[in-house]
Symmetry: C2
Subunit: 187 residues, 2 copies
DNA sequence: TATTGTTATACTCTATAACTATA
DNA sequence: TATAGTTATAGAGTATAACAATA
């Protein structure tokens, strides 16, 4: 997966550092594998997607209400996507939604007893999977390093300008590999 | 996101190590942010999804043919999913498919000139994004550590039994947050 | 019978845009 | 006018199962 030839002929900007590329690919693949296994576990034990789990866990961890906007924060979603997921969770009896008394535009979301119970039921298996896949092969030193690095990276990426960072377009048109290409998010 | 209360009352298995949980969440969020930005770049400059880019890059890096099965390997896909993506890429003129002379059941896939050119055109921006988001805040030492850790993790996860690792079911039924729940993969 | 790949189909998820209602 | 959230809609992507063809 390393050592991609520089397409055909044209000049292709800065050369690639093979080491960096290797780190990048290893990171992406490892997390992809982890995420997949985690999703299998969540689906099997709680019939939840990872996103749904994140939403429930977030609500559980704050222990009270959150507005839809607050709930969406960090979970990279369009508003409508969150509305959709909240609808599912509400229908399943795992959360409640009610209008905020302070600001009647807002919706307050809270976990139900049942939602809390589900999180509690799913969490041990979740921890077990991450332990087996993620923590088992790591020494305490590794764990410390990884935590340090990923925390810094996360903060760095959070701080990035949410848009505008999209690099200059090179060629506006082509047969299009995917039929159409809506690619933006609204938060 | 740390410190989820252990659902309601019941006994919930091993307690969570807050440090581990923090590392886990930081990892997942950071990669999620990175992946999102990368997808924006690939879509903007090459009208490609990350998966499509991976397929093209893989073909480009081997410099020859791959069977569908070989191509799928590592990209966590169902066969039909790969067929779908290959169909898009072929229609866009980025790859070719032809029956294998050795084994007539197999399909040999190769990048076209155009596909190679596209990879070359997209790669600089891709590298730029990863550099800005991933490598910029890391020291050489960090990079080395991260590479070491992620390589080990990837190999560890690859070596895991693909199935059977699904933890024992706790409770088979519940109102179902997602309507239905097909959750398995076929590779 | 096992393997390679495709097709038909169903469903989940996400995004855009238009909309309502409140501030 | 700006903000919070919902709805309608459309499309991308992925999975299951049935299928055809080759080994």
């Amino acid at each position: 997966m390393v050592g991609i030839p520089s397409g055909a002929d044209a000049d292709n900007g800065p050369a690639l550092d093979p080491q960096q590329l290797g780190v990048y690919f290893a990171l992406m693949e490892a997390v992809s594998l982890l995420q997949h296994q985690v999703e299998v576990q969540l689906r099997a034990e709680g019939d939840l997607s990872y996103v749904q789990f994140q939403l429930l866990a977030r609500l559980a961890s704050v222990g009270g209400h959150l507005t839809m906007t607050q709930l969406a924060d960090g979970v990279v979603y369009s508003r409508s996507g969150l509305t959709y997921q909240a609808g599912l969770l509400e229908k399943a009896g795992l959360i409640t939604r009610c209008p905020s008394p302070d600001d009647e535009r807002s919706t307050l979301v809270a976990v139900t007893e049942e939602g809390l119970a589900l999180v509690g039921r799913v969490l041990p298996g979740h921890v077990e999977v991450t332990r087996r896949l993620l923590f088992e092969p790591l020494s305490d030193d590794d764990l410390h390093h990884l935590g340090d690095i990923m925390t810094r990276l996360r903060d760095h990426m959070r701080a990035q300008p949410p848009r505008s960072a999209v690099p200059r377009k090179r060629r506006p048109s082509r047969p299009s590999a995917a039929q159409s290409a809506p690619q933006d998010q609204d938060r």
